[in-house]
Amino acid sequence: MSVLQTNNLTKRFGGVVATDAVSLSLEQGKVHALIGPNGAGKTTFIAQLAGQLMPDAGQILLNAKDITKLSEPERVRAGLTRTFQISSLFSDFSVLENVAFSVQARTGHSYRFWSKVASNARLNATAADLLELLGLSEKSQEKAAALSHGEQRQLEIAMALATEPKVLMLDEPMAGMGSEETQRLIELLGKLKSETTLLLVEHDMDAVFALADDLSVLVNGALIASGPAAEVRTHPEVISAYLDSGT
């Protein structure tokens, strides 16, 4: 069953067609990897799915419901969450607070003016569980800004998971991670897919082939192939356009 689907999604910047009539379908409980050379329009595509950019034409469906017109926060509440290629954190907050705020964002409105949020046991416990899952428990009291690059990448994912997404879009989650951290993250994402459908934009091909059930290839804004990973890998156009070019 298709969870997230785009129909002829198109975005132009002046004369440049950044997204060229892309029709993509994400299957429930699978990892769908989106690959393509730098500048192919992967991040622009994600930004449209997340609602930061509005497409010029086309449709986005989440569980068969049209979400093309919804604002970014509305889409997140509908179950579509993204992570950022460059870690986007609250640098003055502690690691725990970063995640606790993300949990807070999911659990209804925050027009609560009196009780101390920092000592809210429910938010903190859920956040601590997520930090445990990402292996950040020991760092929970440190400022987010003080974390290493790899740890910030993990915190980025913990925050996205706190929103309990139905579809999680990961924009190059492994970028700049060490090989040990990458391996850890691959294992974690593998476990996640029973609960969440993943859209993975990634340059690390080992990670892509370890995780991806389905694979789509974006070149110059257009989808040149999409389908089960094993088939797309052998697609001649894909090999010549992308996989062969040594990226």
Partner: protein
Amino acid sequence: MRSQIFHKFGAALLLLTLLIVPFVMSYFGKTFWLDIFTRLIILSIAASSLSLLLSVAGLASFGHAAYIGLGAYAVGIPVYFETYGGNDFLAGYNGWWHLLLAVSVCALFALVTGAISLRTRGVHFIMITMAFSQMIFYLLVSLEEFGGDDGLSVDLRSEFALLDTVVLDIEEPWIFYLLCYVLLLLVLFVISRITHSHFGRVLNAARQNEQRVRALGVNPYGYRLFAFVLAGVIAGLSGVLYANYAYFVSPGMVEWTRSGELMFMIILGGVTSLFGPLIGATCFVLLEYFLSRWTIFWHLPFGLLLLGVVLFGRGGIVGLLTRRRRGELEP
């Protein structure tokens, strides 16, 4: 942890000083100190309300004096009608009525201007909030009946009736001072609670990284608007006090330089602390007093000092004190 205890100790000391000094000075016959301290406390309330926007939410509202003016005219106009007749539904010395007027007018003004201003960011936000306060300024100037440029004098202070028989006699300077002082404590307490609440955390997060707040499913607009209204209402309260303090209201209270002064107080005191605006206002008022006694060109050294704090005193006076404690400053 040690710096936290130091911080609490310092704050308690400051509050105690503010309570004791004016009375000791009055005892020795220098009653004008009570006057200076009253002004200081009222400005602290206004600056603290702005700090909710500036320090917590990161919204540099440059029109905050408008609310002081609106609050002040919410006293001046009913008193004017009581004295000279007309508009009986408005007229009166009843302090509760003045408060109700001030709160509703400020809340409405903040709601409307905030709803528009908060659609902009950065410099645009600064300019548009300033423009709205200038509108109030010129509106007040144009009200010939209420003295236009010259303003209105308030012949008697508001009457705050507690129960049916007891009236809080704020004509008595020290009772008025205590009222202002208690209100300051209340305002600081409320702001502290709000800063550390669920609501405050949303404001704080949106100041640090609005993009991420949205990506977590929260639109900060409504939260910011609420904070904007709340800050306006508290500043309106300080306006009610100011009219009573000065026995006078005028458009001069709304001039954009007044909004700038409130910002200076916060920056001078330090944006990271609840007591920053109080410390800033205290230094501001005392410096103004001493420098203006020393020379009529007191704006010059005053300006240089502010420049120095902005350039070198990161975190204002609070920042300077706590950094020295932690030994981060060069020996």
